[in-house]
């Protein structure tokens, strides 16, 4: 069973209770100044954003086939069976390819530290393992953020759109974006107006590099035989010429 969060922007009142709960869980400082910050960072793993009348919410999207997990040279990221994408700071070498590659620009870095780590939401993996909902869904007073089985959340989102077509932009963000995510969004306005990246492919990104990378064994084996053959032919030509006492085999 894989879980997902469902964030319904039309129910969000912008109280930022999710931000507070998240900071508490990660033991990060939270005050008025931090509350004002509208971008993800090493001390803010989820953000409620204001866009005129509407609110949005940014955090790690927990992709079904996570780009970060595929690009990380040491395998520090893992897509868990429960849905959350976790990060193992003990492995991380700090190459920041995950940050560069993430289509949602979710991971942040501890730029000020001499032993920096990547920071991102882990969808309260420890709580989920214990059968609990995430801290943010527990804290949300209006039901804007809820969590549960991904298929059930998708069905719930579809139901809300069907029951109130005028109140919703007729799409679920996260159903297909970058191959689908474990964070689903509903909104009254198009999602780019909530600051969500648009023009993302509707397929997972890791195959883009894997299609090339999977050729490595072929290039290495065929290439070695080919170059070995060329080497043999060119050097054999010289050896034969030498044995016959000729000079013409050597290309000078």
């Amino acid at each position: 069973m894989a879980n997902a969060l469902l964030y319904d922007s039309t129910l969000c009142v912008g109280c930022k209770a999710c931000e507070t709960a998240c900071a508490e869980r990660w033991k990060l400082p939270y005050n008025d100044q931090v509350a004002e910050e509208a971008v993800l960072s090493d001390h803010k793993l989820t953000v409620v954003t204001t866009h005129g009348e509407s609110f949005g919410r940014r955090m790690c999207m927990h992709c079904q086939d996570p780009t970060c997990a595929s690009v990380c040279p040491v395998g520090a990221f893992q897509k868990t069976a429960l849905g959350p994408v976790t990060y193992d700071a003990a492995k991380c070498i700090g190459c920041r390819y995950c940050m560069f590659a993430c289509p949602f620009q979710a991971p942040a870095y501890e730029w000020g530290s001499t032993t920096p780590k990547v920071s991102k939401c882990d969808q309260c993996y420890d709580r989920q393992k214990a059968g609990k909902v995430t801290a943010c869904s527990e804290a949300c007073p209006t039901g804007a953020t809820t969590s549960g089985d991904r298929d059930a959340m998708i069905a719930e989102a579809r139901k809300r759109i069907a029951e109130n077509p005028a109140g919703y932009y007729p799409r679920i963000y996260g159903l297909q974006e970058a191959g689908g995510t474990s964070m689903l969004l509903l909104s009254k306005v198009p999602f780019e107006q909530l600051g969500m990246p648009k023009n993302l492919p509707n397929h997972a990104l890791p195959p883009l590099t894997w299609n090339v990378l999977s050729l490595v064994p072929d290039i290495a084996s065929v290439g070695s035989v080919l170059l070995g053959g060329v080497y043999w032919i060119t050097h054999r030509r010289e050896a034969v010429a030498k044995a016959e006492g000729r000079q013409d085999g050597v290309r000078q």
Binding site: V39, L40, S41, T67, S70, V71, C72, P73, V74, G75, A76, K91, C92, I93, G94, C95, R96, Y97, M99, F100, A101, P103, Q105, P107, A108, Y109, E110, W111, G112, S113, T114, P116, K117, P197, N199, L200, P201, L205, P206, L208, T209, W210, V212, L213, V216, I219, A220, G223, S224, L227, G228, V230, Y231, T234, H235, R237, E238, V250, R251, Q252
Partner: protein, 388 residues
């Protein structure tokens, strides 16, 4: 039998003629040292203008992407001389291998600056993720560094008259050069593959499924250009004759490879229907024109035959090709990303200081190595063997 061990023809050091260069060198090195201190004790944030929106700057875009490419002359010439066995290129082989070896060592040093946890640079050895391009690059670069050390080792062994190690290295030469060319092919193209993962973040003038191939071909072109460049400078510095016919033929090779690159580049733009993007009056488009012009000019000049008997013109063609290559890589890694994501990034002075420091160190070490080791005067191998 000390012919091989004789020092180079007496050179007039550059700084004795122009002391300014010596001062510039020390100024750069002091700035780089100070930046290193800040990097080490205050973290990446204190020395770079990197941000969560723009996590890779010039240390990746220039030091690593361009550094590895500029060192491609090593595998290109090894393939020409040892595998295709075209021996007349031998006089420029060792300088090319030395450039490559130095280049890769400096790339690793640059990586140590850029990695958040340089103390864990060895992690990819034991923590594997074969799905990651970065993982493949890490392994290839590490293995190829070993190959380059062994390919350059004969210069040291000849100088020291260590005959047994020399014979051992010569005995494994065939598999060594083949492995070296394969490893280079893999990681030179993989540097392009790194960018395949960001279809929504890289401008369509640069994002292409052909990136691995484009990076591979451009690396070969700049490897040839760098060989011409360093032959020119070494000839000047050490007051020796320019290998003119040889450099001319390298120039023709350069023209062909650059031509292939440009044709591939425009075919690709046309196939992806993005040629129209060239007409938008935007800064990144101007940089695209700069990149294409710097590469096209040498092709036209070299094919026109104007270079015959004009070494200076050949030298400028090589410089133009090198600058075109650097512009392409910086466009992929900086301009093209900024154009799509709107992220702000201009390197901080400390980033530039470290980069310049690495370049200056490269020049200084190359010079020293060329002075004390048989780099340019290829030793008479038979002579060494006879004396054993």
């Amino acid at each position: 039998m000390t012919t091989a061990a004789l020092p180079m023809p007496r050179a007039v050091p550059l700084w004795r003629r122009i002391p300014v260069w010596r001062l510039v060198f020390y100024a750069i090195m002091s700035a780089a040292l100070y930046a290193s201190y800040l990097r080490l004790f205050h973290g990446l944030g204190s020395v770079t203008n990197l941000s969560n929106e723009f996590p890779w700057g010039i240390w990746i875009g220039f030091d690593v992407l361009c550094g590895v490419g500029l060192a491609a002359g090593g595998f290109t010439l090894v393939a020409i001389v040892h595998i295709f066995h075209i021996e007349r290129y031998k006089p420029v082989l060792r300088p090319a291998i030395l450039t490559a070896f130095l280049g890769y060592v400096l790339v690793v040093v640059a990586l140590m600056f850029d990695l958040g946890r340089p103390d864990r640079i060895w992690h990819p050895l034991v923590m594997w993720n074969p799905r990651s391009v970065m993982f493949e690059v890490a392994w290839c670069v590490m293995l190829y560094n070993t190959v380059l050390a062994l390919e350059f080792a004969p210069a040291l062994f000849e100088r020291m008259q260590w005959r047994r190690p020399l014979r051992i290295v010569q005995a494994i030469s065939a598999p060594l050069v083949i492995v070296g060319v394969i490893l280079s092919t893999l990681h030179q193209s993989s540097l392009g593959s790194l960018y395949l993962i960001v279809p929504s973040k890289l401008h369509p003038l640069w994002y292409s499924p052909l990136l691995p191939l484009l990076f591979y071909v451009s690396a070969i072109s700049v490897g040839l250009a760098m060989t011409i460049f360093e032959s020119w400078h070494s000839a000047k510095a050490f007051g020796k004759q320019l290998e003119w016919p040889l450099l001319m033929s390298l120039g023709r090779l350069l023209a062909v490879v650059l031509g292939v690159f440009l044709v591939m580049r425009f075919m690709d733009l046309s196939r992806r229907h993005v040629l129209g993007a060239m007409l938008e009056p935007r800064p990144e488009v101007y940089l695209f024109y700069l990149e294409v012009a710097l590469m096209a000019i040498p092709v036209v000049v070299l094919f026109s035959g104007a270079v015959a008997e004009r070494p200076r013109l050949l030298y400028f063609c090589a410089v133009s090709a090198i600058l075109g290559f650097v512009t392409h890589r910086l466009n992929v890694s900086v301009t093209g990303i900024q154009a799509m994501t709107g992220a702000n990034y201009l390197p901080r002075w400390t980033e530039i200081a470290v980069t310049l420091g690495l370049i200056a160190a490269g020049f200084a070490i190359f010079r020293t190595a060329a002075k004390y080791l048989p780099v340019f005067e290829h030793p008479v191998e038979a002579e060494v063997r006879e004396s054993t």
